[in-house]
Symmetry: D2
Subunit: 363 residues, 4 copies
């Protein structure tokens, strides 16, 4: 029985507590939050859990095997690094860290201390994304032409993090998992319409080798909820619409054929192909359950998590590059140069209140 502690009982923490508690091979032994009333609420539901307002009690408790962090991003590195040094595996809500440097250090620490490091890229564990991955791996789509993701809503304006760091980790982690290769360049633009200086809309362009183009639109200030991904391959195309109650993934047997008959007119070089559409049956298990179960399974059976520290790092690298581009007039950023850059830029921008004692409880 893996003993898990959850730090942060705000919006997302209770979901982690519920899911870890419903596993057969794990239990939430301890929770921590700066706000006593949050602890009381959770205690009412799960009376056996030990509670504390001091996360150090969690980090120093030798009975705890693993720590799950549902705290603001700027706290991920200090909390996780201490936990790992104290011999605990760590599950961190996305994004893994606030900078590439922090992510690289956590990966190195986890390896040295032989602890699991996993990031909560929850969409990777949905039936929809796993089914799309199958299609891509089976070469049913052919080569991928582009990946286009739109995630807009009238969403919660977060005070310490912009829409790029809040929403785009979902899209970037889906993209990273599905495409399975490293991009070359990133550029991004954003705008703030609330007067707070925190961007509420952003467009991110990611260039992969060859002519594979990816693009993400994230937005907190839209009147309707859209969560639509278009993936175009040389053989087939996919629309993944997460707002559909059923049939979230539709596979279209549509595309173009390149005509290499020289006698034909130039105007007929590209011809169409339109065939059937089908919507595969999807596993409808709760993704977070699958994810929590996978973390515990990796600990017990010494496996490498699907969304390990490296996956978290790749996402943070793109976020950091996008943030840099956004601050530099959409300038194209070479992703390979991100590794060495000091991560000062984002920490300022993202965590205006990071010194505030309340920040650790806000997620």
């Amino acid at each position: 029985m893996v003993k898990v502690a959850v730090i942060g009982c705000g919006y997302w923490g209770p979901n982690l507590i519920r899911n870890f508690n419903e596993l057969d091979n794990a239990e939430v032994a301890m929770i921590s939050d700066l706000r006593p009333e949050r602890l009381r609420t959770m205690s009412g539901k799960y009376p056996k859990m030990q509670v504390t307002v001091d996360h150090n009690e969690v980090l120093n408790n030798p009975d705890i095997d693993a720590v799950a962090l549902a705290t603001p991003v700027e706290t991920h590195y200090p909390l996780a690094s201490t936990a790992i040094k104290n011999g605990k595996s760590v599950f961190i809500e996305k994004p893994l860290t606030a900078s590439v440097n922090e992510a690289e250090e956590l990966i190195e620490l986890a390896e040295r201390h032989n602890q699991k490091l996993m990031v909560g890229h929850t969409f990777v564990y949905t039936g929809a994304v796993r089914k799309i991955k199958e299609f891509i791996d089976n070469r049913e789509l052919g080569n991928i032409n582009y990946f286009d993701s739109v995630r807009v809503n009238l969403g919660l304006f977060r005070p310490t993090v912009n829409v790029l760091w809040d929403l785009a980790p979902h899209d970037i982690s889906i993209m990273d998992y599905l495409l399975g290769s490293e991009p070359e360049f990133v550029s991004a633009v954003g705008a703030c319409h609330s007067g707070t200086g925190i961007e509420n809309i952003a467009y991110i362009t990611i260039h992969y080798p060859g002519n594979l183009l990816a693009h993400i639109h994230v937005n907190w200030l839209a009147p309707v909820k859209l969560r639509k991904v278009l993936i175009s391959g040389t053989k087939k195309m996919i629309v993944y619409d997460d707002t559909e109650p059923d049939e979230k993934v539709k596979v279209y047997d549509k595309g173009i054929m390149i005509n290499d008959d020289e006698d034909k007119m130039y105007s007929q070089m590209v011809e169409y192909r339109i065939g059937d559409m089908y919507a595969p049956k999807l596993d409808t298990s709760e993704a977070l359950r699958t994810e929590c179960g996978h973390f515990v399974d990796c600990i017990i059976n010494d496996k490498k998590p699907i969304t390990d520290g490296e996956a978290g790092l790749r996402v943070v690298k793109i976020l950091q590059a996008a943030q840099l581009s956004m601050e530099n007039n959409n300038e194209r950023v070479d992703i390979r140069c991100i590794r060495k850059s000091p991560a000062t830029l984002s920490s300022e921008k993202m965590s205006k209140s990071s010194t505030s004692s309340t920040s650790m409880a806000a997620v």
Copy 2:
């Protein structure tokens, strides 16, 4: 009775012929196309029209009052400039010209020769766009925060023009009409997946003064047809979905309120407002009819067209800036510098077959 000649009887020309012929105060007296079989087909439907394979017969015919061009973009300037010099008003299918220089010269020519110059920004004449314009002009939306337009489909791959020059004129002309101000910077990325070198997907970002951001996604290689515009204002927001049979325009009484109460937590600075939605009744007349009627009305009553040469120029300026950015790794282009730049870049890129004698008939 205004005597109109239509040059180009390919895809779009027949629509112009039908609509000009159905007006009470105009008739199509002459048509021209390089392909005799296209002329025969049109003649069968409208036997009274004079036909010719030589557009010079049109341009030199003193009986013709106005010429409508439905020919490839690279022919717009030479045909229109001759027509204007010969004392004819000119209606040109979008985009107005292949370069800013050409557009400026046509405007200057039309003014000097006292002829009407109008560009076929057809969406501006739809009931939907005119209704949105009303809302914006009445200040119902407040200040505009952003304009986001998606126009994707499995569309016709055109051999001599990329998706930017083919589809984006629609979105840019709608944006130009609705926002009514001049942008500052443009950047764009695109990709080609057909091996022809012609981009089939492009993302264009347009920066306006203040924090007004516009973004356009045009795409010939998508499995589904999407034509959705989001417009967010400080008071209300609009979704304009042109694929809806009814209720194309929805106005949402939704938004955020900025809380300036200093006592409140930083986290509560931005609050929500969610109210009713409504879909106004729209004029469902055919936009092209309205547009053709407007052109004839401007000629007869000496009015300035809503989509005059200046409107055409503003759209070409953004297209040319976007093309320049796309060729320079998404680099931000200052729109004010476009005016003076020689338009060599796009003419090469866009009109590979512009010397071919067949190009004039292809639209």
Copy 3:
């Protein structure tokens, strides 16, 4: 070259004229309508056609091989019977006739005079309905459990015919074609909300042998357009939504399994099965073109039309039974008793203005 005459140039007649004219092996040689202005309009488009306000000129013209009727239903029988007796094949817009007796006589006449009799059940010639027929004939759905059709809209209130006779022929002809068997009982209810006495909403229930149930909702007074057919089979189910631009037909691999294990609880007798959905590619040719071509092909090659007089009779039988039930408080009508009944009831109800000289031109 089959010489076709079209009688009735109101709403639908022009579509017949256009489609027959575009066939290679037929031409519209003559048209007739009581209103000279309708004839002038059509003549402007197709100058070679002979025109007349007197349909007897059509019926007596020995050069005419076939007559197509787009006139009000009460005129179908007199016009068609004369045409057949004069040695012409006849195509009649749905419904075939205003009564079962008339339909039976036309069938008998056509047989005796060796002429083709075909009814315009246009939906039978759509790619969607033909594809569904394929699935049913291939036994992919298993046995059909039910057929449910909804066809509602804010539609044209017709002055001489109720919504049952106006819209339900579409649904009944689709049902008749797909199910391929004869029903036993019909019942119907309707209501009039316009004060004219003409029903604008009706619900029709059709009982087939076994437990196959069919139901149709037709409605002229609905705020939205719905055209949705549900077909449930023991193996698979279909949703046919004619308002969808693409993917009109969706096949669901869903259903129930009957558990005959006696040990299992009664409560577990029925289990679920949920699999993939797929939307087959459909032939998108214009159904009316296919239909007109089929009529001409039947004449030239002496074939039996798919929607022959018998198909038309089966539909009229159900309409007449439904009308009878509607007038008798929803009483169940045995379809086998309809054959002998005099068709007096519907002729009064349906054709209040049938004596008016204008009625023949109204469709």
Copy 4:
């Protein structure tokens, strides 16, 4: 603090327990179910509740102020009548009882013992239905022409109750609440496709005085989930689509106008009116919370419940009439004759296992 006991902890009971527990002025003091494992599960969540497998302990407990029943319909009468006689108010999940006689007796008992009797017509407490009621009461729709409700899904096949008694109470209770008048006649058809004899599809027609027609389609065997209500008034029309995440209620300013100008052609008697559509903001509170709160409020402040015994009786009367019609070939049943009829028919049909000791726990 009202002390509530919940009998039946199957599918719906836990929702009642949660909602009553979250009220400030009530608490669930006791729960009962025949299955000890259900009690254990609920006890784990709410440790303070007393639990018992014997519902008589509940009914005889003097500390209990009110009993909520989430048990099979055939148990409603015996449990509720005992509870009322023992001085407890009663909340009963829909439908109120298995027969009109039972409903009338409960109403009479509740009155005599001065206890509240309320039925769980939950949809009546949704923001959507309450908003529609407002529109109707404010005369915004004018006179109601028809009410059409479709509620289909691949739903749970229940072993002891058909789709009429399972799903139609929702539609009938919405209709009853909105229309606010008593119908005259009911007819219904159904079919069973599972071999169990339990109907899984039914169509119910309800005639109101005047020309107000209502129709309900309920179905457990459909491949897609539809929950759509059309309400047409002489002034406006409503579409209420419960599957929409937002904008569940749309009000259309559409309709017809009756032309009483005698000079106009008969064919122009009915003219169209098409205006704006709007979707009002809806209260999104959980309906069951509102409902449970209302029950407690009625007890504390001696108010008459909105969905009182009479409302429950009206729904049962229509259900019983529909059941009778369904068993008699769709024969029209006079609703006024239902009151006196012995309710033997439905009790046999509906509750095959009512003698089974397990039935009391199945809901």
